[in-house]
Every structure is written in structure tokens, then in C-alpha cells.
């Protein structure tokens, strides 16, 4: 074992303990039995005790030599402080409270110094020793009696007043010190000043004197102090109950608890309390706090203004400085008001402080106000402060629904987390898909096949708001880094229409963004036609309505803003971002859209071949996929391009069966083919994300297979040529799809990288200084 350095107090304490265990007076070895008993009294789980014993080398040696014993004691202190047990921690942990042992050791009695020196919070050797509040009479007896009484008498009063077995391992080491006093029936400070409200003990005075903690009175009643005093406010009713307890305690003072009884009592206590967390609020305490809260603010969801809280807590007679510190700790969101959780935390801290516990430097976890998930949103902003909770920022402007492609959204979320340290790391959510999906849903209102989005839709608003915030915040932070291509952040829209607009804007921003996914489809898009079921019908209906549809289809493109088309023409994969959007949404709806794919495929083919009368039927699955995707995209906010094609397609779809539509639309439209292809790609991109790729392909294949049945009104030669062209195009699209997918993934990774870099920068406030 590594060398152990002990402070003076620790040294004394440990030596006392050792001598206690050294029943054989060997001065060398501590009796195993005593040691084990002692460790059990430390209120640690058995496995921890075993671990300690192993770490200190006793198991190896078979006995507890002085050094092992000391090391073990140090480890007990470490464990009681909640730190992980490590060999190196015995020396590295500074200001470790002395280990506390529940077993009542009356040896300490002699040590009880009657002098209660009110040290200022000296975290020195007695780390965590709590200076008795100046002017507070030590009620050590009272505390003792309380302890004794509580476990033993279990009077109702006591129970009611000291309901919480506040975690035995109260943070400050004081417990053991005051326990000593407690146990000490005759010690100097028996006078229990019941002065004023509730008994306040300054138990530690004797500890402070350095009385070797060896004899710590292991009254083992951890809960007592807080419980006794926890209603220390002068005007609080519970004080009466506390006072009532005093008489009982007085009686007990004379009795000296046997170790056994104390131990058992303590153990009982222990079990009842959550000793793992000294700052935990028990239910009774919490109930009391809530009641107090109600007296000030009847609405449990409301706030207590700072002034009211100030008055209330001033009644506790703590020094203003400490109250100020308590406020700092408990006002989590720094809004100058206390919510219920904050109030409970503050109250608990006041109670603890009055009982002599030192105030922590930072708010213990158990006292942190509950964080609210972003999804729950609502009042997240107030509560979330804790790191790791994706709370507050999300609330930001819910009105903005970012229509950014997923790329944008992932990293903004990351940024947001970094910016808002209180936020728990938000899991990057692919907003675009959901949003796009939402848009699609809205667009395809009639389309019942898109049922799946319901949940994503629900999530979207929060996500959107989240993203909005994130985006906005991100924008602030990273400004330009994000702007490239994804400047769609400024194009947040909450409606599909808006999204469409945004998309268009995006397109304008990002030159590379393909128009495919950007432009939101015109609202009145008749989506039902895209349904899978309809797709087949389309085929059937296609020949019938071909003429009409084609005409209609032809008409559509002109109506649609030409922008997308030209952009579409350029490069299939250029529009990756836009495609991503479309893809994302597509993916989200892919399952539902799968059936539509055949339709899309049909459409695209039709468009591509323009003339094809029927044959569009995409023999190639690939084509179909892209087509389907494209069609879907068209339903998506992809915007004008889509519109053009989709219009044609939509019409076709509306006609009923996709294939039919496809055939019709494709023929008359020459330009559309290119956009279609692009859409295919975007869809391709989406697909990888969704994994429904295969499904789609399957569906498409199925559809395709069904399509051959479409009557080929066009000349056979033409068909043949078209078929060959189609096949080539299919292969092209397949390759293009792959390419787009890969590029999409690359973009995602880059975005993540950017977000991480931004976070890193934010986390280094002044590193450059």
C-alpha cells in the first residue's frame, strides 16, 4: 500500500479507533472482530467493506496491522464521501471527512469537549467540520437524545418531526463529532439549549478541539441533526414538535446506549434512509418543504419571488452571507425566483446549515431541480440547468421550425449543448426527416399511407423548436462555418409551405443544393396518387388517362417554378443537401412511401422518356426507386422541381395508380427526366439513411414487374429504344444514388466535425488568453 499521510485530526482519530479495536492491547494488531464490527458500523454496504478490507491489505495479511487499519479507515472515509474506492484515493483525496461509524462508542464521551468553539467553517483537518452557528447553544445533548430517542422511542412526534433519516453520511464530518456528544450523557455540554426555534446543535465544537475522533461517539444516528433542526425557523410550527422532543431527549440523556442497541438503531435508521446521498431530501422533508412553499405561493408550479424568499429564509436566522450562498446554489436558473424544486433545495440547505453541516460548494445532485426534457418543453427553460439535460435552449422560439436538412440539424444541436452548458448533450436528431415528413404529411393529407409520421410529427415541434434554438444559437456561434450550403438555418419555416419557401431559399443559398429536395411541393398537391395502392392503379388507369394526364403533366411543369429544373439538370448529386432533405423526409416516410415507389418509378420513367407511352414502367428497380423517391420528394418540400414532376406525377397518382401516371407524365416531359433522375438520387440519399432501400427496391421491383403489363401503345421500336435508354438510365441512377448517398454521409460527418469543433471552441473560454 502506498504511504498514507494523515492529518493531525485524522491521526488522532485513527489511533483512537485503533486502540479501540486493539482489545488485546497488542498495539500492533487490531482485533478482527472489532474491526469488522467497526466497519459495519460505518454504514457501508458489505461489498464495500470487503473491498476496503482487501484494498488495505488486511485480507492479504490476515489481520489488521496499524497501517492497514489506518488505510482502511481512510478508505471508509472515502467510501462514505461517496468517492470510488481506489488505492490512490487515500492520499489524493483532500479534506476528506473523518470516517463515521454508527456504532455507538461511548469512549468518545470523555472527549466531548464541552467547549463548542464556533469555528468558522474550517475545512481543515476536520474537513467538513461544521462550525456551530454562532450564538447557537449547543444542543448536543438534545441531538443525542434525539438520536437516542428517535431510533428507540420512535415517538410519533419524533417521527413526524424527524421523518427524514437524512442520509447517514451527512456530508460534513460533523456527524461523528456530534454523535459523540449525543452519546455522551454526562459530557460537559449537556445543556441543550432549546433556545429559540428548534435545537441547533453545535456538535462539532468538540471535534474541532481536535479531540481525537477516535472516540467518536458513534451514535450512528445520522439523521438526527437535520431532522431535529430541520424546522428551525422560528415561526414554523414544527418547532413545537421538536421542542416536545426535548423532554424526551432529556430523559435519555442519562441513559447510555449500548453499542448494540445503538448499532441496531442506527442500522434501522440506515436502512430507512438513503445514506448513499447525504443531501437527499426525504419524503417527509419534502412534504414539509412543499407545504411551506404553499404558504408563500399557492401555485406549486409558480415561483417565489426573490423578496419573499428572502424574508422567509431570513427567519432562519442564518447569516446573510450564508443565505446568499444558499441562494446562489439553489437558484439554478438564476432568475431571481425560486421554483418548487429550487425552494426545496434551498430549504434543505438551510436546514442542513442550521444543523451544522457545511454548505457545499456546488449544489449536490440530489438537490438539483428536475430538468425537463425538451420534448416536454413547456417550462424547460426554468428548470433545466443541469448539464446533460437538453432543456432550456429548446424552448427558444418554437415558432421557427427549421426546415434545414438533417445535416444542419445535427450539428446545431451539438452546438447548442456546448453553448448551453446546462444542457445535457442533446442527441442529434435528424430533424429534417421529421420535418420533411411532417411536411409531407401535411401535403399528403389525404394520403393515409403516411401514418408513421404521427409520432415523428409530434416530435417535430419540439425538435423544431429545439433546432431553431440550436440553429439560432449555432448561428451565433459558428456563424459562417455552418453557413455553407446549409444556410437553410435561416430558412426555418414551420409550415410545409414555408418549408418549401425555405427550401427554395436554401437552394438559392447553396449553389450546390440540388433543387430536388428544396422546393416544397405546392400545397394542393394531390398526394393520394402517390400511395402504393394507387400506383398500381395508375398503371391501369394510365392508358386511359394518358392523354389527359400527359397534357396535364405537361401543363404542370410550366406552372412550376423553373428553378428547380435547371438546377436539377446540372448534376445529380449536387443537390445533396437538398436531396438530403428530401431524402430524410423521404426516409422517414419511406416505409409508407415504399409502396409509392413504384409509382414514382413509373412517373419518372414516364417523364424521362417523355414520349413513352406506357412503357415507362420502370423495368429497372433502380429507376423506380429513384423515381419513386423523386415522386415522394415531390411530395416533400422539394419544391418546384418536384412540383413539376410531381405535379405530373401527382396527377398521375391522383389518377390512381402510380405506374399509369408515371407513364403518362414521363412521355410528354422531356426535361423532367433529368430532375427525376436527380430526385432519384436524393431519394437514394435518403434511402441509405432509412434502410428501406432494399424494401423499396423490392417494392419497385414488384411494381416494375407488374408494369410490363401496361399496354404499350407506342410503337414497339420506340419502346425498345426507350427500354434500352431506360435501362441505361437505371444503371446511371443506381450509380448516382450510391454516389449521392456516400456524399450525404460525408456531409453528415463533416457537419458533425464542425459542430464538435464549435463545441470545443466554446468549451475553451479563455484558452487563448
Amino acid at each position: 500500500m502506498e504511504g498514507l499521510t494523515l492529518s493531525d485530526a485524522e491521526q488522532k482519530y485513527y489511533s483512537d479507533l485503533f486502540s479501540y479495536c486493539d482489545i488485546e492491547s497488542t498495539k500492533k494488531v487490531a482485533s478482527n472482530g472489532r474491526v469488522v464490527e467497526l466497519f459495519r458500523a460505518a454504514q457501508l454496504p458489505n461489498e464495500v467493506v470487503l473491498q476496503i478490507m482487501e484494498l488495505c491489505g488486511a485480507t492479504r495479511l490476515g489481520y489488521f496491522g496499524r497501517s492497514q487499519f489506518y488505510i482502511a479507515l481512510k478508505l471508509v472515509a472515502v467510501a462514505q464521501s461517496g468517492l470510488p474506492l481506489r488505492v490512490e484515493s487515500i492520499n489524493t483525496v483532500k479534506d476528506l471527512p473523518l470516517p463515521r461509524f454508527g456504532a455507538s462508542k461511548n469512549e468518545q464521551e470523555s472527549r466531548h469537549t464541552t467547549s463548542y468553539s464556533s469555528d468558522t467553517e474550517n475545512q481543515g483537518s476536520y474537513s467538513g467540520v461544521i462550525p456551530p452557528p454562532p450564538g447557537r447553544v449547543q444542543v448536543k445533548k438534545g441531538s443525542v437524545s434525539h438520536d437516542a430517542v428517535q431510533p428507540r422511542t420512535s415517538t410519533d412526534q419524533q417521527e413526524s418531526t424527524s421523518p427524514v433519516v437524512s442520509p447517514q453520511q451527512s456530508p460534513p464530518t460533523s456527524p461523528h463529532t456530534w454523535r459523540k456528544h449525543n452519546r455522551h450523557p454526562s459530557g460537559g455540554n449537556n445543556e441543550r439549549s432549546l433556545a429559540g426555534p428548534g435545537p441547533f446543535w453545535s456538535p462539532f465544537s468538540e471535534a474541532q478541539t481536535g479531540s481525537s475522533a477516535g472516540d467518536a461517539v458513534w451514535s450512528g444516528h445520522s439523521p438526527p441533526p437535520p431532522q431535529e433542526n430541520w424546522v428551525s425557523f422560528a415561526d414554523t410550527p414544527p418547532t413545537s414538535t421538536l421542542l416536545a422532543m426535548h423532554p424526551a431527549s432529556v430523559q435519555d440523556q442519562t441513559t447510555v446506549r449500548t453499542v448494540a442497541s445503538a448499532t441496531t438503531a442506527n442500522e434501522i435508521r440506515r436502512q430507512s434512509s438513503s445514506y448513499d446521498d447525504p443531501w437527499k431530501i426525504t419524503d417527509e422533508q419534502r412534504q414539509y418543504y412543499v407545504n411551506q412553499f404553499k404558504t408563500i405561493q399557492p401555485d406549486l408550479n409558480g415561483f417565489i419571488p426573490g423578496s419573499a424568499a428572502k424574508e422567509f429564509f431570513t427567519k432562519s436566522k442564518l447569516p446573510i452571507l450564508e443565505l446568499s450562498h444558499i441562494w446562489e446554489l439553489s437558484d439554478f436558473d438564476k432568475d431571481g425566483a425560486l421554483t418548487l424544486d429550487e425552494f426545496c433545495a434551498a430549504f434543505h440547505l438551510v436546514v442542513a446549515r442550521k444543523n451544522g453541516y457545511d454548505l457545499p460548494e456546488k449544489l449536490p445532485e440530489s438537490l438539483m431541480p428536475k430538468l425537463i426534457d425538451l420534448e416536454d418543453s413547456a417550462d424547460v427553460g426554468d428548470q433545466s440547468g443541469e448539464v446533460g439535460y437538453s432543456g432550456s435552449p429548446a424552448e427558444a422560439p418554437p415558432s421557427k421550425s427549421p426546415s434545414m436538412p438533417s445535416l444542419n440539424q445535427t450539428w446545431p444541436e451539438l452546438n447548442q449543448s456546448s453553448e448551453d452548458t446546462a444542457i445535457v448533450h442533446p442527441v442529434p436528431i435528424r430533424m429534417t426527416p421529421s420535418k420533411i415528413h411532417m411536411q409531407e404529411m401535411e401535403l399528403k393529407r389525404t394520403g393515409s399511407d403516411h401514418t408513421n409520421p404521427t409520432s415523428p410529427l409530434l416530435v417535430k415541434p419540439s425538435d423544431l423548436s429545439e433546432e431553431n434554438k440550436i440553429n439560432s444559437s449555432v448561428k451565433f456561434v459558428s456563424g459562417n462555418t455552418v453557413a455553407d450550403g446549409y444556410s437553410s438555418s435561416d430558412s426555418f419555416t414551420s409550415d410545409p409551405e414555408q418549408i418549401g419557401n425555405a427550401v427554395t431559399r436554401q437552394r438559392s443559398h447553396s449553389g450546390t443544393s440540388p433543387d430536388n429536395t428544396a422546393p416544397p411541393p405546392p400545397p394542393p398537391r394531390p398526394h393520394p396518387s402517390h400511395s402504393r395502392s394507387s400506383s398500381l392503379d395508375m398503371n391501369r388507369t394510365f392508358p386511359v388517362t394518358t392523354g389527359q394526364q400527359q397534357a396535364g403533366v405537361v401543363a404542370h411543369p410550366p406552372a412550376v417554378p423553373p428553378r428547380p429544373q435547371p438546377s436539377q439538370v446540372p448534376g445529380p448529386h449536387v443537390h445533396r443537401p437538398v436531396d438530403a432533405e428530401g431524402l430524410i423526409t423521404h426516409t422517414s416516410t419511406s416505409p409508407q412511401q415504399i409502396p409509392e415507389q413504384p409509382n414514382f418509378a413509373d412517373f419518372s420513367q414516364f417523364e424521362v422518356f417523355a414520349a413513352s407511352n406506357v412503357n415507362e414502367e420502370p423495368d429497372d428497380e433502380a429507376e423506380k426507386h429513384p423515381e419513386v423517391l423523386q415522386v415522394e420528394k415531390s411530395s416533400d418540400p422539394s419544391g418546384s422541381l418536384r412540383v413539376a414532376k410531381t405535379d405530373g406525377r401527382i396527377e398521375e397518382k391522383t389518377a390512381a395508380s402510380a405506374p399509369a401516371n408515371v407513364g403518362k407524365s414521363t412521355t410528354p416531359l422531356a426535361p423532367p427526366p433529368k430532375p427525376i433522375r436527380r430526385r432519384l438520387k436524393s431519394e437514394d440519399e435518403l434511402r441509405p439513411e432509412v434502410d428501406e432501400h432494399s424494401q423499396k427496391t423490392g417494392v419497385l421491383a414488384a411494381v416494375l414487374s407488374s408494369q410490363p403489363s401496361i399496354p404499350r401503345s407506342v410503337g414497339k421500336d420506340k419502346k425498345a429504344i426507350q427500354a434500352s435508354i431506360r435501362r441505361n438510365k437505371e444503371t446511371n441512377t443506381v450509380l448516382a444514388r450510391l454516389n449521392s448517398e456516400l456524399q450525404q454521409q460525408l456531409k453528415d460527418v463533416l457537419e458533425e466535425r464542425i459542430s464538435l469543433e464549435v463545441q470545443l471552441e466554446q468549451l475553451r473560454p479563455f484558452s487563448h488568453l
Binding site: S307, K310, H325, E328, E361
Partner: protein, 139 residues
């Protein structure tokens, strides 16, 4: 980094002064005091634009051979004065600004505490910690 940070109240008395190393505290107190004149001068120079348009960050108040003094005024006429070591050439204006921003935020948090009476000296531990972080960083 900053060797001295001071928060001066509207009436020009200090709410918080901290400097490192401690032995030069008196010198820094004097420096801060003299810098108040410069602050007033700059504030009055902005003149009528009043608070809204007035920039909170005042910039370099005056340099000496050893150090530079930066100033920042809040809308409530509370002044933050920061003395930085001249040898610290790496300090850029942006960094100073961000430091002041942090100061301002911490000060706001202190203000939010109902137990803090405006005009009292600042004893907040959180504020102390923040200032410490700013001061010891570059050391």
C-alpha cells in the same frame, strides 16, 4: 492574464477588488482609482447618445509601461476595470471583451440574489470563482 479586476459602483466606490499578486494590491487600487477618471471622461464623451447607444465596452483606458487598463461600464453605471499585464501580448481585444461579458453575467447573477443588497460588497463565491478563473488562467 488579468492581474487585477475591480467592480466599481455608480458612486465610484469599489464593490469588489481583487488582484494578484497580493502584494501589489495597493498599487492596483490606486491604478483603478485613477482609471475612474478616464472612464468618466469616455462616458461623457459619448454624450447624449445616452445609454442605449453607448457601447458598454470602453476599451483600453490607458497603458503604462507595465500594464494596460481596460474599462467597461454597464447601463447602471457600474464599472468594471481590468488591469492586465503588458507582457501579455497575446491578449486580444476580443478576449478582453469576452472577459468583460463574463464579468457582467456574473455580476448579474449576483444581483439576482435577493440577499444581495445593491451597494454591498460582493461576497458571492460564484463571482469569486469566475474572477479567479479569469485571473489565473494565463499565469
Amino acid at each position: 492574464m488579468a492581474v487585477c479586476i475591480a467592480v466599481i459602483a455608480k458612486e465610484n466606490y469599489p464593490l469588489y477588488i481583487r488582484s494578484i499578486p497580493a502584494e501589489q494590491e495597493l498599487k492596483f487600487h490606486y491604478t483603478v482609482h485613477t482609471s475612474l477618471d478616464v472612464v468618466d471622461e469616455k462616458v461623457s464623451a459619448m454624450g447624449k447618445a445616452l445609454v442605449d447607444q453607448r457601447e458598454l465596452y470602453l476599451g483600453l483606458l490607458y497603458p503604462t509601461e507595465d500594464y494596460k487598463v481596460y474599462g467597461y461600464v454597464t447601463n447602471s453605471k457600474v464599472k468594471f476595470v481590468m488591469v492586465v499585464d503588458s507582457s501579455n501580448t497575446a491578449l486580444r481585444d476580443n478576449e478582453i471583451r469576452s472577459m468583460f461579458r463574463k464579468l457582467h453575467n456574473s455580476y448579474t447573477d449576483v444581483m439576482c440574489n435577493p440577499f444581495y443588497n445593491p451597494g454591498d460588497r460582493i461576497h458571492s463565491r460564484a463571482f469569486d470563482n469566475m474572477v479567479t478563473s479569469m485571473m489565473v488562467q494565463v499565469c
